[in-house]
C-alpha cells in the first residue's frame, strides 16, 4: 500500500514527461528501469530511474564517506570517458547511486561532485529511497553490507546500460586503465 501510494504520487509528479514519452515503444521487459525507483540528485531534484531512458548509462553504487575503493569508481568512470571521443562522451551518461541514503544527502553529493570535478550534465549522483537500495543493487548484481563502523562492504563494479536500461556489460576493473573489453562494449553501445 505504501508502495502504491508512492507510485501514485510519483506518477502524478512525472505525468508530464511520461506523456511526452508515450510515443516511445514500451520498456523492454529485461530493463532495470522496470523497477519504479526514484532518486534525489545533488541539486535536490527528484527523478525517476526511467528518466535516464534514451541515453546509455555507466552505472555504479558508492557512498561518499568511503575512503578507498569508491574514489576508484569515480576514477574508473572518468577513465572510460577520457578514452572516448568528444562526440561519444556527449552520448554517455554516468549515474552513481548511493548505498548510504541516510548520510548521502543532496548537500553531501553536491560537495562530492565539486570535489571530484564531475560534469553536472553527464554525471548524476543519485540518492535512492532507503527501502529501494537492495532492490536496485540486486538489478545491478551488487552485493553489500553495512559495517559496524558506518562503512560499507560492497561489490565494486561498473555496469553499462543501453538506452533502454538493459545490462550490456560489466567490469570489476575500476581505476587505472579501462578494461578494454568493457570499453569496446561502451563504444558499440554509443554508436548512434
Amino acid at each position: 500500500m505504501k508502495r502504491l501510494m508512492l507510485l501514485l504520487s510519483f506518477v502524478a509528479a512525472f505525468a508530464a514527461p511520461a506523456a511526452a514519452e508515450s510515443t516511445k515503444p514500451p520498456l523492454p521487459r529485461d530493463s532495470v528501469y522496470q523497477l519504479a525507483a526514484y532518486f534525489t540528485d545533488a541539486q535536490s531534484r527528484r527523478f525517476a530511474w526511467n528518466a535516464k531512458r534514451g541515453q546509455p548509462q555507466l552505472v555504479s553504487m558508492f557512498y561518499t564517506s568511503c575512503k578507498f575503493v569508491c574514489p576508484m569508481i569515480v576514477d574508473g568512470g572518468k577513465a572510460i570517458e577520457q578514452s572516448l571521443s568528444a562526440a561519444e562522451r556527449e552520448r554517455l551518461g554516468v549515474t552513481l547511486i548511493s548505498l548510504d541514503p541516510a548520510r548521502d544527502t543532496p548537500a553531501v553529493l553536491l560537495r562530492m561532485r565539486q570535489d571530484r570535478d564531475l560534469d553536472p550534465v553527464r554525471w548524476t549522483l543519485a540518492r535512492p529511497q532507503p527501502q529501494d537500495v537492495r532492490a536496485i543493487a540486486g538489478l545491478l548484481g551488487i552485493r553489500y553490507r553495512a559495517l559496524a563502523d558506518g562503512e560499507f562492504n560492497h561489490t565494486t563494479v561498473l555496469v553499462l546500460l543501453d538506452a533502454d536500461g538493459r545490462v550490456i556489460a560489466r567490469t570489476e576493473h575500476v581505476g587505472g586503465l579501462p578494461d578494454p573489453v568493457f570499453l569496446a562494449a561502451v563504444r558499440r553501445t554509443l554508436v548512434p
Binding site: 505504501k2 540486486g138 552485493r143 562492504n153 565494486t156 581505476g175
Partner: protein, 255 residues
C-alpha cells in the same frame, strides 16, 4: 487457585497450537554463528513478529491474483527468472493435489519482497531468521546439542526431489514457529549482504578489488551446518533467481 493456573497455561497452549499468523519474538543479545571482522561480541536483535510457518502456494496464488504483474507469464524477467512458479499447472491456478498447502517455492527475492510488502511486512533479516531458527521444540537455543544438529543434517541429506510436506505440519519450536528447518530454504531481506563468494579470495591485484573496505565474513561455528549451508546458498543467489526448494516467510516490525 485453579483459575490462576488456567490463566497461566493459556498463553502457552495458544502459542503451541497456532499454525498461521505471526509469533512475537522478544529479541535480545544473540551469538551468531557468523563471524565478521568488523563486529565482535553479541548481535542485538530487536523485537519483531515472524510468520509461524512459510508462505504457501495458495497464499501466493491469492497474492498473484490480486497483483497480476507478479504472474509468471507477466512478470518482468529482471524480477523473476524463467523457473518462477514453474511448478504451477497454470499462471494463476494450482493443482488440487495438496499443492496449495505446501510452502511456495520457485519464488525470487523480488517476488517474496513484494508479497511481504503487500502484507505490511518485510522479509526477515539474516540475524532474525538465525535467532528464531536456533530453537528446537523446547529450548530457545538448541545449537550446542549434537542431536539437534544431527536432525538438521538429516534433512539436508534427503533427496530434494521428494514432494514437500504441508506448510506448518512439523512441531512448533519454543517460539511457536514451525518449519525453519526440514522443509524449505528461505529468503532473507539481506541475502546479498552475505559476502562469502570466493571470487576475491586470492587477488592481490588492486585493480580487481571487489569489495570496498574490510569486513569479510567467515563462519565461527563450523559445526553448525544449518547456518553454514544456508549462508553458502544465499550468498550464491541473485535477486531474480528461484530454486525448487527456496521459499520465504515475512516478519513485521514491532512498534
Amino acid at each position: 487457585m485453579r483459575a490462576l493456573l488456567v490463566i497461566c497455561l493459556l498463553p502457552l497452549v495458544a502459542s503451541a497450537g497456532e499454525v498461521t499468523g505471526y509469533a512475537r519474538i522478544a529479541g535480545g543479545d544473540f551469538i551468531t554463528a557468523l563471524k565478521y571482522e568488523d563486529a565482535r561480541g553479541p548481535t542485538k536483535v530487536a523485537p519483531f513478529d515472524i510468520m509461524r510457518r512459510p508462505v504457501t502456494n495458495a497464499e501466493f496464488l491469492a497474492f498473484v491474483t490480486r497483483n497480476p504483474a507478479w504472474r509468471r507469464d507477466r512478470v518482468a524477467p529482471v524480477f523473476a527468472g524463467p523457473d518462477y512458479l514453474a511448478h504451477w499447472p497454470a499462471p494463476a491456478r494450482l493443482s488440487p493435489d495438496g499443492l496449495g498447502g505446501q510452502p511456495v517455492t520457485r519464488v525470487s527475492w523480488y517476488a517474496a519482497n513484494a508479497y511481504c510488502e503487500e502484507q505490511g511486512a518485510r522479509l526477515p533479516r539474516w540475524f532474525e531468521w538465525e535467532y528464531v531458527a536456533a530453537a528446537d521444540e523446547t529450548r530457545r537455543d538448541a545449537r550446542r546439542d549434537p542431536a539437534w544438529r544431527e536432525r538438521i543434517l538429516g534433512w539436508y541429506a534427503r533427496p530434494s526431489s521428494r514432494s514437500l510436506p504441508r506448510s506448518g505440519a512439523q512441531a512448533a519450536n519454543a517460539y511457536g514457529v514451525r518449519d525453519l528447518h526440514g522443509v524449505v530454504w528461505e529468503w532473507t531481506d539481506d541475502y546479498s549482504a552475505l559476502l562469502v563468494s570466493g571470487d576475491n579470495r586470492n587477488q592481490g591485484d588492486p585493480d580487481r578489488t571487489q569489495f570496498c573496505g574490510a569486513g569479510a565474513l567467515s563462519i565461527d561455528d563450523r559445526e553448525n551446518y544449518a547456518v553454514l549451508m544456508r549462508v553458502a546458498m544465499l550468498s550464491s543467489l541473485g535477486g531474480s533467481d528461484t530454486t525448487m526448494n527456496l521459499g520465504f516467510r515475512c516478519v513485521r516490525e514491532v512498534r
